[in-house]
C-alpha cells in the first residue's frame, strides 16, 4: 500500500513537475542563460543523482565511488561505439551489463562494512579503476587524453545530436524517476528504509539483509551506468574525469543540496549544480566553487533535508504553522519511521491522525491558525507522547498522573482502567489489560503485511 494514499491527488505532483520540466526545458532554458546542451547534461546528471539517492537516501550507505560505475559505463559505451557499431542500443546494453557485473563484485566486497569504512572502500575501488584506466588499460582508454574519435552515435540509423539526445535523456530521466518512486514505495523500499534505520535488528528478524543491500547497490549502479552511457551519446568523447573521484564528490554534493531521500531533491540538486557551474559561475567568476562549497556546508549544517526540506519549511511557514520547533536533523534521528516514511514521499510530515484533528481546530481558529491554543500541549501538532511510569496498567502512560489522595486511587482502580482503555486511540496503548479484546482482523492485517521475499 502506498504510504500516502490519503494524500490523494498531490501524490502525482512531483511526477507531473518532472514530466513538465523535462518536456519544456529546452524551450525556456536559454532564456535564463543556459547554453544549448546544458539541459541534456542536467537530465543525465539528474538520472545519476537519482540512482545515488536510492543508495544514500534510502539505505543510508554513502558511496564515494559512484564515479566508478558512471565512468566504466561511459568507457564501455565509447569503446562499443568506436569499435563495434555506432548504434546506441547495443552499446548501452553492453555498458549496463558490464557495470552491473562490476557493481555485483564491488558491492559484494564493500557492503559488509558501513559508514566511513564503506565510503573509503568504494573510494578505493573507484580510484583503482581510475588509475588502471590511465596506466594498465591506456591502450584501450586513450590514457590521459580520454577516449577520442568516437563517431556520431545513431539510433536505428538516425544520427543523435541536439534535441534528439535531450529527449532521449529526458525519457530516461522521467522513466527513472517513476521507477525509483515505485521502488521506494514497494515492500522492497520498506526494506531499504529498514536497513537504514536498523540493519542489525532487521537481520535478527530473519531478513536476508545482504541480498537487499546488494540489490539496491546494483540498482543504484544501473542508474549511474545509464547516465554514463548517455553522457557519451550526448558528447562522443570519454573524459578521464568521469572515473575520477571528483565525479563521485559532485554527485554527493548534488544529492545533498537537493535533499537526500526525496528522489525529487537530487534531480533539482543536479540541475542547480549544473546551472551554477556553467551559468552562474560566469557572473561570480573564479570563486564559484568556493561559494558552492559554502552552500554545501551550510546545507549540511542547517538544512539536512536540502532544498526539498527548505521548500517544506517555507510551505509550512506560509501555511501559518509558525511554531514548529526543532531542526529536521534531530527529528530525523528521533522519530525515524514516521518522519522518514512521509519525508520520502513528499508529504508534509504530520501524521495523518493529527491532521484529522487539525481540521476542526483550524476552522474554529480562523486563518490565523492556532492563536487560540493556550498551551503547547493542547496543540495536536505538538503532541509528543512521553512515557510515564505506570503505577497500574490501566493508567495513561503519556500524561502525568493527576495528583490525588492515595487511598482513593485504590478504590477507583477498576473504573480508571476501563476509562483509560476506552478513551485511548488504538496503538497508543501501553499495555493491554485484556488481550482478548484484540479484534480478529489484526491477524488478517499481519498476514497482509508479511515481508516480501528477498531478491
Amino acid at each position: 500500500m502506498s504510504p500516502n494514499k490519503e494524500n490523494g491527488g498531490r501524490d502525482w505532483l512531483p511526477l507531473g513537475i518532472v514530466v513538465l520540466l523535462a518536456l519544456t526545458l529546452p524551450y525556456w532554458f536559454p532564456l535564463i542563460g543556459g547554453y544549448e546542451g546544458l539541459d541534456t547534461k542536467i537530465m543525465i546528471l539528474a538520472l545519476f543523482a537519482l540512482g545515488f539517492d536510492l543508495l544514500l537516501g534510502y539505505t543510508g550507505y554513502l558511496s564515494f565511488g559512484h564515479a566508478a560505475f558512471f565512468g566504466v559505463s561511459a568507457y564501455a559505451t565509447g569503446l562499443m561505439l568506436l569499435h563495434v557499431t555506432p548504434e546506441i542500443i547495443p552499446a548501452m546494453i553492453v555498458a549496463v551489463v558490464i557495470t552491473v557485473v562490476l557493481a555485483l563484485a564491488i558491492g559484494f566486497m564493500t557492503l559488509r562494512r558501513t559508514g566511513i569504512y564503506f565510503a573509503i572502500l568504494t573510494l578505493a575501488f573507484a580510484e583503482m579503476l581510475y588509475r588502471a584506466a590511465l596506466s594498465i588499460f591506456s591502450d584501450f582508454t586513450g590514457g590521459d587524453n580520454g577516449l577520442t574519435g568516437i563517431p556520431t552515435p545513431t539510433l536505428l540509423g538516425t544520427p543523435m545530436h541536439g534535441l534528439k539526445v535531450y529527449y532521449l535523456a529526458a525519457v530516461f530521466a522521467v522513466v527513472g524517476f517513476y521507477v525509483a518512486r515505485r521502488i521506494t514505495r514497494s515492500p522492497f523500499g520498506m526494506m531499504m528504509r529498514a536497513i537504514k534505520s536498523n540493519q542489525e535488528r532487521l537481520r535478527y528478524t530473519g531478513v536476508n539483509v545482504a541480498g537487499y543491500k546488494l540489490f539496491t547497490f546494483v540498482i543504484s549502479a544501473t542508474y549511474a551506468a545509464v547516465a554514463g552511457s548517455l553522457m557519451v551519446i550526448y558528447e562522443p568523447y570519454v573524459a578521464t574525469v568521469f572515473l575520477h573521484w571528483s565525479t563521485s564528490g559532485e554527485v554527493v554534493i548534488m544529492s545533498v543540496i537537493g535533499g537526500v531521500g526525496t528522489l525529487f531533491g537530487p534531480m533539482i540538486g543536479a540541475a542547480f549544480m549544473m546551472y551554477f557551474e556553467n551559468v552562474a559561475s560566469a557572473e561570480i567568476g573564479e570563486q564559484w566553487l568556493l561559494i558552492l562549497g559554502l552552500i554545501f556546508v551550510g546545507i549540511v549544517v542547517f538544512l539536512p533535508g536540502g532544498f526539498v526540506e527548505g521548500y517544506r519549511r517555507l510551505h509550512r511557514y506560509l501555511a501559518g504553522d509558525r511554531g514548529e520547533p526543532g531542526n529536521p536533523g534531530s527529528a530525523r534521528e528521533n522519530d525515524t519511521d514516521r518522519t522518514r516514511l512521509t519525508a520520502a514521499t513528499g508529504e508534509p510530515d504530520v501524521p495523518a491522525r493529527h491532521k484529522r484533528c487539525l481540521g476542526p481546530l483550524r476552522r474554529r481558529a480562523g486563518p490565523a491558525g492556532r492563536g487560540h491554543l493556550r498551551h503547547r500541549g493542547d496543540d495536536p501538532l505538538h503532541h509528543r507522547p512521553q512515557r510515564r511510569r505506570q503505577i497500574d496498567p490501566g493508567e495513561r502512560h503519556d500524561r502525568a498522573p493527576a495528583a490525588r489522595p492515595r487511598q482513593r486511587r485504590v478504590r477507583r482502580r477498576a473504573a480508571a482502567r476501563d476509562a483509560a482503555v476506552r478513551h485511548q486511540p488504538a496503538g497508543d496503548r501501553a499495555r493491554i489489560p485484556d488481550a482478548g479484546g484484540l479484534s480478529r482482523d489484526v491477524a488478517a492485517r499481519q498476514r497482509h503485511h508479511r515481508r516480501p521475499r528477498p531478491p
Partner: protein, 248 residues
Amino acid sequence: MPPVTLAPHLGFVLTILLVPLLLFAFGIALERGLIKRFYDRPHTDQILVTFGIALVIQETLKWIYGANALPFPLPSWGNGIVPMHEYLPFLEGFVAYPKWRLILTVVSFATVIALFVLLQFTRFGLIVRAGMRDAEILRFLGVNIQRRFAIVFGLGAGIAGIAGTFGGPVSSVYPGLGMAYLVPSFLVVVIGGMGSVPGAVLAAILLGMALSFSAEYSAIQQISVYLVAVVVLLVRPRGLLGQKGVLE
C-alpha cells in the same frame, strides 16, 4: 600554504614553530564552531561536512594564492646530501641521501612517538581513549569530554601543520595538495585501524613499501596502494590493529 608566505619573513625555524600552533588554534575553533554539532548526527553527515570544509578551504587557498604551484625552498641548513655510506660502511648499498629527507624522517618519528606517549601514558590520553569508546559514560562521570575532543581535533590539525611545513619542500605546494594527500592518509588510518597510532604507522610503512616495490612496474604502481587497502580491509575489516567498538 601559509608556511610559504611566512617563511621568508620569519625564517624557517620560527615558521616551523608557529604554523602548527596556528593550525592547532584553527582546529579548535573549527571543532567548537562546527564539528561539535555533528557528534550526534550519523557518520555520513560527519563525512559530508568535513568534505565540504575541505572543499571550502581548498578553494579559499586557490583564491588567495592562485592555482599554480608555489616554490617552497629548503632552508639553508636543510640543503645538501648526507653521505650515508661513509657513516655506515658495513651496510651494503647504502647511498648518499638528501639531508632534508633524513630530517623529515626524524621529525616524523618524533611526532608519532610523542603522540603515542601522549595517548598511551598520560591521564589526558586515558580520557581520550575512554571517550572514543563511550563518551556518554564519561560525561556522566563528570569528565569534560567535549574539551578533550576539541583538543584532539586541534592536535590533528596541528600535526597536519607539521607535516605540511616539513613535507612542503619535498612535494610542490598547490591548493589541491590537501586533497591529494587526503585519500592516501585516510587509507592509512583505515588500514591501520581507527584509533590506533601504531596501526597507522604500520599501515603507512605497508603502503610506502607497496609503492616502492611496485615502482619497477610503473603500470601498477598507482594501483598498488588501493589494492593493498582493499585486500587488508577485506581480510581484516577493522584494519590491521583496529579494536572492536571504535567508531562503529
